[in-house]
Symmetry: C2
Subunit: 267 residues, 2 copies
């Protein structure tokens, strides 16, 4: 059999070859277009198998989605204006908006199950557990409300500010799933303009994914970034961060140069 | 291009043909085996795309699994022998094993969120809500414990008896996700020996998937099934069920006959 394969290889290497092997068009079962042996993908058996695998994966996705919908809680906030009860046993208060905003009802069992910090706080008979009131500092009412909603539903409607606020809270209360959710969102919003501030923010809150993605954006646009006002500010405020950026930039330059040398050697 | 395709078609129809087109073996990118044009599946482009789709689906599955693990509760039963608190506010008691078995702690918020029956019971200040005790009739302690565990985790370790017990409870308390989970399990356990009892059971508890699968098993093995003791018993106890089975069997026979006739006509 190997003989045939070698034959195709030698045929296709002759440009403009008119040999039979080169011109034998087949029809792709998937896109229905004709193609030549050099563009061949799979045999029929593997095509059928791949289709079955895809179907299985889609069924698994449907099952997982049904499970999520079963496990998701309705947030007690949804009950506030309805007649139903939510059996809450604690309230959260944003100390920033304490006077203006209503307390947010919640269940200790939910808070404890989602956050090791709430768990330690509520199980150890601390002030919060006795009073049934948890004061959250440095957060707006809206952010706190969205945070609690996420603990019940694993869902949040984000913009960049909200993603930053929730990332800070998720770091503080060790809600890993929410932190990763915010990081993914912030990575999609990165651009040369916001990369430096995102880098500093990620550094402060141990957001590894944002950090790596922002650093990559910065080192690809060093010329632009170093002309920005935030750059000057950061040089004053936290020069070690700027040093880290230059180190990453240097490493990239050295790598690129090394690749260039090895390529020119092989050519 | 069409010309080439017709050429392949005519070539491959000649058995034992030695023509170039027929013998041009290609190597499948997926299984690495050689194949002939007649066994061609996809072109290279579609192969690559299919691979990307599979990767995307697998990433989605990982994300959904992480979400499930976030949303899943630890069951209060796990806390019983640990030092941690579960902030439960209600207990469930199996009235069948009431004297011998401990009450099972739970959170009203969880019960209400998973079952519309518990919701109505607990939100309407019925006896159960006031006393903080829910008595569950006709169920063993083990089944009740597994039921509560499922409400918290969407997981249960099943055998056939447990699947039947939980199906009955999930029907009574309208926990659809659990009912569907039990039905899927019972369908995998169907065989000609248990098909008739499963059919009767499914009929009694509105388990549509089990009903259809069992009926299909029965009508494929009518000769065996009608010789079984359970058949005689069911004829006595619930003859309408047996009539339904015969009606399904008849419909199948008529269909098969019709297909046979139309096939012989086209031949």
């Amino acid at each position: 059999m190997r003989r045939h394969r070698c034959q195709i290889a030698s045929d296709t290497s002759e440009s403009g070859s008119d040999s039979d092997a080169d011109n034998t068009a087949m029809r792709c079962i998937s896109c229905r277009e004709e193609y030549l042996p050099r563009d061949a993908g799979t045999c029929k058996e593997c095509y059928v198998e791949a289709g079955e695998t895809e179907e299985e994966l889609k069924r698994e996705i449907d099952d997982l989605k049904a499970k999520i919908s079963f496990l998701r809680f309705s947030s007690p906030l949804d009950h506030v204006n309805s007649n139903s009860t939510s059996f809450t046993d604690v309230v959260l208060i944003s100390s920033q908006d304490a006077a203006a905003s209503p307390p947010i009802p919640a269940n200790k069992a939910v808070l404890v199950s989602r956050s090791p910090v709430f768990k330690a706080m509520l199980e150890n008979e601390m002030e919060e557990s006795r009073s049934g009131t948890i004061k959250i500092a440095d957060v707006s009412y809206d952010a706190l409300r969205t945070f609690v909603y996420y603990l019940y539903t694993a869902e949040a409607c984000l913009d960049e500010q909200m993603a930053c606020d929730l990332l800070v809270m998720s770091e503080k209360y060790q809600v890993k799933h929410l932190k990763s959710y915010c990081e993914k969102f912030l990575v999609t919003k990165l651009n040369p303009e916001n990369s430096l501030m995102s880098y500093a923010f990620a550094h402060q809150h141990n957001a590894k994914h944002v950090l790596d993605a922002a650093l990559s954006q910065i080192t690809e646009n060093m010329d632009k970034v170093t002309k920005r006002e935030e750059y000057m500010e950061l040089v004053e405020k936290d020069p070690r961060l700027i040093v880290e950026i230059y180190e990453a930039y240097l490493a990239k330059q050295v790598n690129t140069a090394a690749r260039g040398t090895s390529t020119s050697k092989t050519v």
